[in-house]
């Protein structure tokens, strides 16, 4: 464990996980908002919105995240001149957040859509019978019930998001996988301790989170 007695190395480790934390936090919000919107589009009465939602899901769900993050840098930033910050790390951070959100939103959308399927048809029919519009039916009746049904899958999506945040390292952010790579390169004799500390940190945070979502899902489940 000598590697982790060096304060510079501790610093690398902490900075790496802070980036992961910040990426996960911002992208969770982004993906949730985008994902709900996309799910709404996919079940909406307007064909062009349905088409848009479908195209989004099929495109981003089937492209490796590495490529999406690559396009965030070379497409959004280089070609479209979208500069989000003067600071190079902060800029790459936000580009990473966009990439992660856009990618994860496709999965959130599909989870919510299948959640909508678990809501009995009678609920929506009743809403329509009392004259509710599509928006009202969706936001007041269907989504609240669907939301309870998809807590568990959303949980696994956000846990995957936290792990996927490591991929933002490909555009130069020193997140934990880059940090681990750097430490291993500099301390080739300590591959095992370094790996177990990094992997262990992920496990310590993510396994309980998984159980917490499972517990929440059971509590919130609509008993029918």
């Amino acid at each position: 464990m000598d590697v982790f007695s060096d304060s510079a190395n501790i610093d690398t480790y902490v900075t790496g996980f802070l980036w992961i934390l910040k990426l996960t936090a911002a992208a969770t919000v982004g993906a949730l908002v985008l994902g709900v919107l996309l799910a709404g589009m996919r079940v909406s009465p307007i064909p062009v919105l349905r088409g848009f939602g479908t195209a989004w899901v099929n495109t981003f769900r089937n492209t490796p995240l590495t490529l999406i993050v690559f396009f965030c840098y070379f497409g959004l930033y280089s070609a479209l001149s979208l500069e989000l910050s003067d600071d190079i790390d902060t800029n790459n951070y936000w580009l990473g957040v966009i990439g992660l959100s856009v990618y994860t939103a496709a999965f959130v959308c599909e989870a919510i859509r299948s959640g909508i399927n678990t809501v009995p048809v009678g609920q929506a029919e009743a809403a329509r019978a009392i004259g509710m519009s599509f928006i009202q039916t969706l936001t007041l009746i269907v989504l609240p019930q669907a939301g309870r049904a998809v807590v568990a899958p959303l949980g696994s999506i956000f846990i995957a998001l936290a792990k996927n945040a490591t991929i933002v390292g490909t555009i130069g952010l020193m997140e934990s996988s880059s940090a681990m790579k750097e430490l291993i390169n500099a301390n080739g004799d300590a591959v095992f301790p370094i790996f177990f500390v990094f992997a262990g940190t992920f496990a310590i945070f993510l396994i309980p989170t998984g159980y917490a979502f499972g517990w929440l899902a059971n509590r919130l489940a609509v008993k029918r």
């Binding site: 690559f70 840098y73 070379f74 930033y77 280089s78 190079i88 390292g169 555009i171 130069g172 750097e182």
Partner: protein, 285 residues
């Protein structure tokens, strides 16, 4: 009946997989052969060279073939060891896997813009240096950047975790460092104007600057701010092979093959061949 059909599908799948496995996993067959490269060269008449695949002028994979200065050096070494050109197998390495490739015996020799340093000497035996490169900057032709001191506040790109990237981080803290996993991405970013400079060894940069599609767009600043002696990596235990490669290099300096190697690759842009300093071939341990 359904179960039978499922089993059948699974069977077909398994067959396809076996075929795939054969195709993909057959590159680990030559680990256990003779100890040193000299022995292997004389008994098998075959050697595996680890080279770069994405560095124009040095080691660039074009189609099924590799070309560049490193490749020419590999040919000289192979010839000196008595391996015919048909016995050379090239294997793409990236900066991150050069040491493990040598240690694990996946390649016999690494000639891949491989800087000799003390850390690497602990795990690898270096013949050479066959060339002394230096860190430099690649900038757009109209750029006003004249050297590393002028980088303050500018965006400079390099490969994550590489020596040049670390030097920027420690010695030129005012520069903003952008890191990617390959130099071609850095050069793409430079072409798009997203970064102000790309930094790494001068000959790597010269290779990019000389590419057709970038002709007249970039220039190498020409102010080295480090020495990067390029070595030829072999197994730590293979001192005999290491010394033998040094002898071959010495011979190539006098018989003109070294100069020819340069002139056929990096020298095409007009840079005269460097002098191979045979007194410095002393890294074998």
């Amino acid at each position: 009946m359904r179960i039978t059909r499922l089993t059948a599908v699974a069977g077909v799948f398994a067959l396809a997989m076996t075929a795939a496995a054969c195709g993909g996993g057959d590159d680990d067959s030559k680990s256990g052969s003779a100890s040193g490269i000299v022995g292997k060269a004389s008994s098998d008449k075959k050697l595996v060279f680890g080279v770069k695949a994405d560095q124009p002028g040095l080691g660039l994979q074009t189609g099924g073939t590799y070309a560049g200065f490193d490749i020419e050096i590999a040919k000289i070494v192979a010839k000196g060891l008595g391996v015919p050109e048909t016995g050379i197998e090239y294997k793409t390495t990236v900066s991150a896997n050069r040491e493990p490739f040598i240690q694990q015996g996946q390649v016999d020799v690494v000639i891949a813009t491989y800087t000799i340093n003390d850390e690497r000497k602990k795990v690898v035996n270096f013949a050479g240096p066959y060339y002394v490169a230096g860190q430099d900057l690649l900038v757009p032709i109209a750029s006003t950047i004249t050297g590393p001191e002028a980088l303050a506040g500018k965006k400079v790109c390099s490969v994550s975790g590489s020596t040049p990237a670390k030097r920027i981080q420690t010695d030129y803290k005012d520069a903003k460092l952008q890191q990617f996993d390959s130099y071609s991405k850095c050069v793409t970013a430079l072409a798009a104007g997203s970064v102000d400079a790309v930094t790494t060894d001068d000959i790597i940069l010269a290779g990019y600057a000389a590419q057709d599609q970038y002709a007249g767009k970039f220039k190498v600043v020409g102010k080295k701010f480090s020495d990067e002696p390029y070595g030829i990596g072999v197994k730590k235990s293979d001192t005999e092979g290491c010394n033998k490669i040094n002898e071959i290099l010495k011979a190539s300096a006098t018989d003109g093959s070294y100069t020819a190697a340069w002139n056929n690759t990096l020298g095409k842009s007009g840079t005269p061949a460097p002098e191979l300093d045979v007194t410095k071939l002393t890294n074998c341990a």
